[in-house]
Amino acid sequence: MSVETEIRFRLNGREVALKVPATMKTLAMLRDQLGLTGTKYACGEGECGACTIEVDGRTVNSCLMYAVDCDGREVVTIEGLRTPQGLHPVQQAFVDHGAVQCGFCMPGMIMQARNLLEENPNLTREEAQRGLEGNLCRCTGYAKVLDAVEAVAAKESSHE
């Protein structure tokens, strides 16, 4: 028997209202209630970053956050990045630089990388490494992830 609460929040730019059990984590709400399976379960304990989303402009491990805590907030998931015009520049850079292999960690990796770049458009490779330390990848060795992030930073700085 689980207590359910009604919550309202903005999800990928749209208002959303639903009832969630008090014990449900945001990750489960996104995947099971809202059908947004881009955000992944890979450990469930905040150690791997595969469940990374953005809440009120900060990245969080959605597996550690209660769904009810989304109430009143601005939530962005991987599905919210692309536009009808195409991929988000970070997503496109990951594709162009070969940063995606099995891809399972990529939604979390991209959400974190995008957030790092928004905070600091002149992100260096070393700063990107530090910032992505909490996103585990078993396929790529991170090298092309960092190439992609560097490329986006370089583009942004060339616009300044």
Binding site: R31, L36, T37, G38, T39, K40, Y41, A42, C43, G44, E45, E47, C48, A50, T77, I78, E79, L81, R82, L87, Q91, Q92, F94, V95, D96, H97, G98, V100, Q101, C102, G103, F104, C105, M106, P107, I110, E126, A128, Q129, R130, L132, E133, G134, N135, L136, C137, R138, C139, T140, G141, Y142, A143, K144, V145, L146
Partner: protein, 785 residues
Amino acid sequence: MSKTASNSPIGKKTLIGQRVRKPDAPDKATGKTRYINDMVLPQMLIGKVLFAGRPHARIVRIDTAAAEKLPGVHAVMTGKDAAGLKFGFVRDNVALKDKVRCEHDEVAAVAAESEEIALRALELIAVEYEDLPGVFTPEAGAAEGAPLIHDEFAGNRSLHFEFKHGDLEAAEATSDLVVDNVFRPHHVTHCCMGTSCAIADFDHNGKLTIWTQTQYPYNYKMDLAPALGIGPGDIRVIQPPVGGAFGSKLDVYPYEPIAALLAKRTGRPVKVIYSREEEFRASPTRQAAIIHMRTGCTRDGTLTFRTADVLLDNGAYTSWGPTIPVIMMRTTSGHYRVPVVDFKAQAIYTNNPYAGSFRGYGNVQTTWATAQQMDMLADMVDLDPLEFHLKNAQRSGEITPQKSFLRECALVECLEAAANASDYSRKRKAYAAQRDEPGRYKKGIGLASSIHNAGGAKIHKSDGIGTILKVDDYARVTVITGASEIGQGIDAVITLIVAEELGVPLEHVTIVNNDSDIAPWDVGVHASRTTFIAGNGTRRAARKAKAQILDAAAKFLEEPAEALDLRDGSVVRERDGAPLIKLDRLLRQMHFQTEPEVVMVTDYYEPKSEPEGARHVSDHSAAYSHAVHVAEITVDTLTGEIRVDKVTVAQDVGRVINRMGLEGQVEGGIAIGLGYALSENMQLDKGRLRNACFRDYKLITAPEMPPIEMHFIESNCAEGPYGAKGVSELPTIVIAPAIANALYNATGVRIFDPPMTPEKVARAIHDRRTQATPGKTAVLEGMTV
């Protein structure tokens, strides 16, 4: 109606060696890809497994009554439901156990309407165990009077392998120097980001459809069938996108037949999926081994013999781990020119978790030993290791004692490229001279190499692949291939090859490869074979299609077919690139003529290689290749931390096909090898895993990855597609001993038991410093040099 498109000539361009995007990358980057872990089917139930949680026990009683009564529970199954359904390479396993032989033995399973209900049902299953004394090392398992783990395997003896070549006594007599060490490559695990998952569903005819993460879909049917008591022909294997595999999905593991048994019982699709903790505890490991290796050489640095006496911790059941000696012996006999070889390996059952295949498959463990012994011998004969390696390196055309034919061998080129690019010899001398000087941080440089299969491995009668290719009326190509895509990028390679041969855009190629009812046979993703085998298969099929198209074009255009080519969506005159007719137009003309002709071709490609037989002598791969790594490190002698500053790689890839994909495989392979070398370790305590989470099992993270400088040596393999060889395991195989050799260069210590954690390194440095004789190698745990 004009037949020509534009008038400008189309020059010959090639995609071989270019950077090609992975076709599924956009969907993966946008979160659109539905992995097996994300799948939901109508009416689907969730299956969960009750694991024993103890290493060795009799199951006295299981009471499932309370679990069965829980609302939402559709089935509870135990060992009696799988009795007699033995599976596995030696048929020592069943889906649900009659006896507990390791911590992750599956004692019961539940199918319920939600994961929450299934987990609650597991809690309601009451099991009474009688704990039995366990064995947790192969030595203990082999000892007189040791508890028997399987009644059928006396003395807990599992598989054994042997290979001998030449007169060992004579070789020992001619040796001036011998190194004799024991290495203990350890238990690590794959840590695929997508946890283990299978979905099973039976149709009304008793045919099973199983959605699985398998990387060998066809032989998987033969291996799964006995676990269910059905015929392999009644199994349809569907492979959704997966979150990694790395060899872990080359066998059938109990959760898969469990999903099927639950599906059969309930009449509904059942999805079994592991939590991360279950993944750590219950998925296969890399094979742990105790390798007693001896290598000899003469005073001038010529190798005389190499012996290896290997004891394998079989774990509770026999999967592919204990079969690694088949590859271990190839390295023992073929890593450099070794005139005399004596190899033996024995696997012993224990109550530990058991090993499957893992990228590198026995060569990681063996090269850990051979590459360090090469380095040690070089030191002892006072030769620069580079010179020592060059002196013993094989050249093209040589044949190893096991008859591996090194038709195109680029070991020398790789050694020179890596050593020159990294300034290895000068730095090595300089750092060695600094070893005993004061200073907390010491730099070191280490070189290691290995040899591995690069053209498949004929451990099957057929190591081949089927390809079906069609080109439609709009010049869109579909390739139906047996090659499985597990994230390694064969989709990009296939797309590239089709675009190259048929002159169509990459985006106009579709690959179908994930349904055993549709796609033709392939042995599977292993032995670094897929680029070679699937690349050849795709090229052959594409060329058949091209020949058919150009023959038809020749008739319509009244030009000889040999004078034509396909470029950029058009049929052109080969000589000057003049476009003659658009390809899609031609295809429609072919189709809608009086006697229609549609382009549909098939191909089955079997590489030229030979099964090795009981004596383990044959040219069992269509190609072999080498890689050399030079690792540059800084060692904090106070904390023992090793920071890898740079890795220089020289690898014989035959020919670069997709440059971007190739780099990704090297970088990713090195990351796995780095974890193996420095930080990953399954801490097993009397059969129980103590660190079943990412917090305590340390993977390499982004800040720890060094810059990697890659030199791809193109030896132009005559048998490979465009000259290419397989690539993906060598990066994992070579990096760890390169770092071990760098550690020795920096500090004078050697570690034979990976991982080289800060604690081990610090202690070894301390022990060396406090020893009587400075300049002597300190080695952990009482090994002798």
